[in-house]
């Protein structure tokens, strides 16, 4: 199918983009990489009057250290998550997750900010912002603000973003020497949406877990932190018994939706299997 007719405006600055959105009476969409938006337009799931291209806005680009954070510009492409040395050093969980996102040509064009804004519950990056305790920087008609990832994902494809607002950057706390991370997902075919996926970041003293954040995707309407499961691990080392206890705790943290293809019990089972493997690797120092 073809998209419904729309007007197109290429913004050179954030102000121009916000102004255009307001003047189109909010019947507008920002487009960055467009790897989810273009199919949605082609299928006429969305049909705005105006498409505002934000990809040439310099302020939305670049990766740099800022205080205790890595500031990742919203327009950072998925392929740059693999090639940018600062990401590998200070946000290695994102570096590890990037190869699992769709296919190479999609990664060449899709953007980090776009993925987080889209908030697809089956996407890798939104869930990783939760595991990383990242903050999302938003700008809109009423100014700029930073929202914790924990408060950002509201419901299915629904986030703290209001109409006319856009993500400028994501701030990720710098990875530290006493931290460990793991990422993995189960998919029927490489590049397909995951049946279940997970990322985790632990802060340790020796073998003892002082703090851990575990986030799943493809398990419900939003990316999901499993706080009960996290609590079973804090203060202990990752022995077999402790890992089994964490796997058991998942049942109270996750309530996968009914679907013909993957029944809830199967998805929960897969989540347990994945969690067990990843905690095992984390215990070995991953």
């Amino acid at each position: 199918m073809k998209a419904r007719a729309f007007s197109y405006f290429r913004a050179a600055t954030i102000d121009q983009a916000l102004d255009a959105h307001a003047r189109a009476g909010d019947d507008a969409r920002f487009i960055a990489g467009g790897q989810s938006l273009v199919p949605a337009l082609s299928l006429r799931l969305q049909a705005p009057r105006l498409l505002i291209d934000i990809t040439r806005i310099g302020e939305l680009r670049g990766v740099r250290r800022e205080g205790g954070f890595l500031r990742i510009g919203a327009l950072t492409r998925h392929c740059e998550m693999l090639s940018e040395p600062l990401i590998a050093e200070f946000a290695p969980l994102l570096h590890a997750a990037a190869p699992f996102i769709a296919h190479p040509a999609i990664r060449n064009r899709g953007t980090f900010g776009g993925s987080v804004a889209q908030a697809d519950p089956a996407s890798e990056f939104p869930a990783m912002t939760l595991a990383l305790d990242a903050e999302i920087e938003i700008i809109g008609p009423s100014g700029s603000r930073r929202v914790k990832a924990d408060d950002f994902f509201v419901d299915l494809f629904e986030t703290a973003l209001q109409p006319g607002e856009l993500i400028t950057a994501v701030f990720v706390p710098l990875f530290k020497a006493d931290q460990r991370f793991a990422f993995d997902e189960l998919a029927r075919r490489r590049g397909d949406y995951a049946l279940v996926g997970c990322g985790m970041l632990a802060t340790c003293t020796g073998e003892i877990i002082d703090d851990i954040r575990i986030s799943f995707f493809s398990v419900g309407n939003t990316p999901t932190r499993v706080k009960g499961t996290e609590a079973t691990l804090i203060g202990s080392s990752l022995g077999a018994e402790r890992i089994a206890a964490a796997q058991a705790a998942l049942a109270s943290d996750l309530a996968p939706p009914d679907s013909d293809e993957v029944p809830p019990a199967m998805r929960l089972h897969l989540a347990r299997v994945l969690l067990g493997r990843m905690l095992g690797r984390l215990g070995e120092g991953a």
Binding site: M1, K2, A3, R4, A5, F6, S7, Y8, F9, R10, A11, A12, T13, Q16, D19, A20, R23, A24, I31, G34, Q35, V38, P39, L41, S42, L43, R49, L50, L51, D53, T55, C79, P99, A102, H103, P104, A105, I106, N108, R109, R189, R190, G191
Partner: protein, 174 residues
């Protein structure tokens, strides 16, 4: 640099003039904003080697290079590519840069109907320009976004593997 002009909202199908460098040649054409890059390449520029398959980024038949990176030409509008360098299968064929890949696909019957082949070649070309000697797993991973409904992929992977080997034995890329 100009701000937003509200008259833009008046007629959504009004065409916009865009310029690209396609296969090394400067071109300009008039496109409606909703026209995808693949439609522009095939219809306005008559470069029909790029195929429109699923039109939603799943099959990989429409892959082209945009500023040197493989992208789905069905997943962007032609207006977005204004000012970009675009290389299609026609350009790669003309320059000879993938002649060995094409010969090896032919030799090994790595195609049957040929619909997926331009996309396969763009993916293979990008992979071999990034990794000199990819493993079979890496080749399969690079092709994960390219559907072939005829061959079962085995001959395609064989062909790319053979070219990678031949290129590294001859001591450099073509």
């Amino acid at each position: 640099m100009s701000g937003f002009d509200e008259s833009l909202l008046g007629d959504a199908d009004e065409t916009v003039r865009v310029r690209f460098v396609v296969n090394g040649r400067k071109v300009a054409c008039e496109v409606a904003p909703r026209e995808t890059l693949v439609d522009c390449l095939r219809n306005a520029l008559e470069l029909t080697g790029t195929h429109a398959g699923c039109e939603m980024g799943a099959c990989g038949a429409c892959l082209v290079q945009l500023d040197g990176r493989a992208v789905h030409s069905c997943l962007m509008f032609a207006v977005q590519a204004d000012g970009a360098r675009i290389d299609t299968i026609e350009g790669f064929t003309e320059s000879g840069v993938i002649a060995d890949l094409q010969a090896e696909f032919h030799r090994r019957n790595a195609l049957q109907c040929g619909f997926c082949t331009p996309g396969m070649l763009v993916s293979a070309h990008e992979l071999l320009s990034q990794v000199t000697r990819p493993s079979r797993d890496e080749i399969r991973d690079a092709l994960s976004g390219n559907y072939c409904r005829c061959t079962g992929y085995e001959a395609i992977v064989d062909a790319i593997d053979a070219v990678a080997r031949a290129r590294s034995e001859s001591g450099g890329a073509t």
